[in-house]
């Protein structure tokens, strides 16, 4: 067999490691919210102020904040494709395992659950306990208040 040129063979490796890229561009847009060390900007509405206005709104706001740990797996934008977990937009009143674009566990699909406040609360407290065989292996919310807030937030996404 024809002898290959070893030097030629090395070239891709060398080019790969030796060559730089194009000159690095500066930012197109730079929004400086705050300098490090400067005091954080106060949130627009504090809990105490808002609670006088609307208890439900506070709960939903708390739920939105608490939902952050869920957001790694579940998107909530209407029409967005499911990611590691199903899209939770309009989950209220939906049958468990109803989305076409998510591969639910057989356990959840055959659970006959229709999502209500009580069902979501029980499921979030202990997913595998409520539906043995679910693929939701993380994200149990043990804190009762936070769970309630998350459920309220999900409900708000289903009714708005």
């Amino acid at each position: 067999m024809k002898r290959l040129s070893a030097a030629a063979a090395l070239m891709p490796v060398l080019i790969l490691t030796a060559c730089g890229s194009d000159p690095a561009p500066e930012p197109v847009e730079q929004i400086v919210v705050r300098e490090p060390g400067a005091a954080p900007v106060e949130p627009a509405a504090t809990t105490s102020e808002a609670s006088e206005v609307d208890g439900e709104a506070v709960l939903i706001a708390a739920g939105q904040s608490a939902y952050a740990v869920c957001s790694g797996c579940h998107v909530v934008e209407a029409g967005a494709a499911s990611t590691a977990g199903p899209n939770l937009h309009a989950v209220f009143g939906r049958a468990a395992g109803a989305l076409d674009d998510f591969a639910y566990s057989d356990a959840l699909k055959s659970s006959d659950i229709s999502w209500t406040e009580a069902e979501l609360d029980a499921y979030l407290a202990d997913p595998a306990g409520k539906v043995p065989g679910t693929t939701m292996v993380a994200g149990a919310v043990q804190d009762d208040e936070r769970r309630k807030a998350i459920v309220a937030y999900l409900k708000s996404l289903s009714t708005s």
């Binding site: 070893a6 060398l14 490691t17 030796a18 690095a24 930012p27 847009e29 929004i31 919210v33």
Partner: protein, 748 residues
Amino acid sequence: MSDAETMTDTPKKKGKWTRRAFIGAGVVAGGALVVGVAVRPGNPTDRLSPMLTNGKDEQLLNAWVKVGADNIVTAIIPHVEMGQGVFTALAQMLADEMDADWSKVRILESPAIDQYVSDSIGREFIAPNLEVPEILEPTVAGGFLELVQAMGLQITGGSFSVRGTGQRAMRTAGAAAREMLVAAAASEWDVPASEITTADSMISHAKSGKSETFAKFAAAAEEQSLPAKPKLKSPDNYKLMGKPIARTDIPEKVDGSALFGIDAKVPGMKYAAVKAAPVVGATVESMDATAAKSMPGVLQILNMGDFVAVVADGYWQAQQALNSVKTTYSKTEGDKLDQASLFKRYDKHLNEAGADGGDTETEEGDVGEAFANAATKVEAEYKVPFLAHATMEPMNCTAWVRDGKCDVWSGHQSPLGARKAAAEAAGLDFDDVTYHNTYLGGGFGRRSENDNIEMAVRIAKAAGYPVKMIWSREEDTMQDHYRPSATSRFQGGLDKNGKAVSWSNIHTHLFDPADAPTVPYYNIANHKIRKIDVPTHLRFGPWRSVDHSQHGFFIESFVDEMAEAAGKDGYEFRRELLAGSKRHLAILDKVAKMSGWDKPLPEGHGRGIAFVPSFGSIIAQVAEVDMTGKKPKVDKVYVAADAGFVVNPDGFTAQMESAIVYGLTATLYGEISLKDGAVQQSNFHDYQMLRINEMPEIEVAIINGDHKRLGGGGEPSLPPLAPAVTNAIFAATGKRVRELPLSKNSFA
């Protein structure tokens, strides 16, 4: 942590160069100056000493080793540790030749400076068989060093560290240091050097009963000239090489103290999350950061043109805020591409190439005529998808650009390359950048790219304070430099006795190494191998075993199909093709024997064999599969390996196991696919990894076939795995797998 350099001060166990050494211009080692021509032409110890020694009680004997007053021998390793055990294996090679006491050997990773370019790797690759007289060695070695320095090549990859740097530099350096110490003692004691012996970091003269430590003569060694070609040990004198010595980096990897790039700590450091345009090559058209501006902890929101970034007090805050930033991107040609249309594009180019088009890689005889006259003709087409590296540590980099200087912290396979990339991104001179390397949380080729370095430096430059940029797993999966997806077509001819007479192949892409599609070890009179390049917008990168990862599957599947057409057993058919190649046959026979190739398996089970020499090593594997369940299950993999001489058998075995799991993950599940030009997979739920419940039993046999020319360990066990498994599936079910991963195939 109190100052900016703590990262380099802290890991004393691993022995990074110290801050004092780096910035202490006034501190110079106590006169240590040894001209190490063979080891480093134009000896650099006077320049290196301030960086590598503490300046008082340590002597730098040459670029690769220093001896302390406490008789500690420190091996200076010009490669990075990403789990392959290179620190230990290279130190073993140096310490063995030096006759150092292993319990008193320490390890220091070399700094990212051009004295530590991988010239031995360059020479091993370009002119592996070049032997020159001693008088010319400095000139030749110097030539290679200059060439490789000009290229800025400081790379840990290509399974090259032990066979290149270890075999050519570390052993030579150890032997040279030993000879210098002996010469110093001979001079001091006024006895012939030939009467002096060394062992366990001691120098002894039996006749006079004198015995001293290496340390005692370390300073005097500077008076000795270093031989261009010190005498190396023969294998029967090895004390450390060939022994399964415990890896030095493991203790700090079980107590949480090992530092990876993501663990960098710089005072005042803030955190950045990033999102690049989903279609590579597109730019950010608009950015709406209204929500992010009022989110907790947010400091800056940046539109960098090709990506957006949020800088915040904490990484999680940055990522949460980034998730709320709405972006649109420019339209590109890449938008139109999805996986099915890409494979169609491959087909179109392959069809256009026809029987003679494309670039010929190798050719011998006349395949056209041989195939036309063949008694039996075999044709097949195979396909593989893009693959992501999925290192456990997502891409990250910490950078600080200020006052015309730049410091960068990361774990990178080419520290010198990272430093150059940082300098360009910061708009600074190379000399104004200090690059601090760490352990790598997986490399596999991914960490030879500089995109993360450039991004972090650009963000830090805009911010003005130190920033640690961390990619989400989603970003890591969707913005990789992928193993190319490829299609490969074969035509093979057999004569009336079932002997292979022609082998023709055309495939898409050639990345590296050039020998991957070729089969010089198989004795087939007529062969022709061609490639065509099919442009896509995706970035390709070296992925563990690089092109061998797909060609191993293509070639060894087709060999099996030819064996089947010839009515022969896959093992016997390969034996015929390898006739006359003693080392190759020894490995093939070994794997057949250890796997009990002739013994029957239960119904629904099958055995498959594959043979792929790569990266200088000869590997054969037999896989046993169980097809009785819902999906294929690999029960056992047997490996026979000839890597010349294995320096650390346990470390080498671990590499065999590791590459098998990497290959099996790809075989079972690995698929990165495109939709509208963007990668569809994002995290471990849709880019699945092999887990412990699917782990096959692995048995490794090592044959040391050539102690002079060594082979690599990190990659060569990967290419044979996929075809061993798919050939086993054929044996069990009669179904031939021609497209990976297996999850795309139905075995019902």
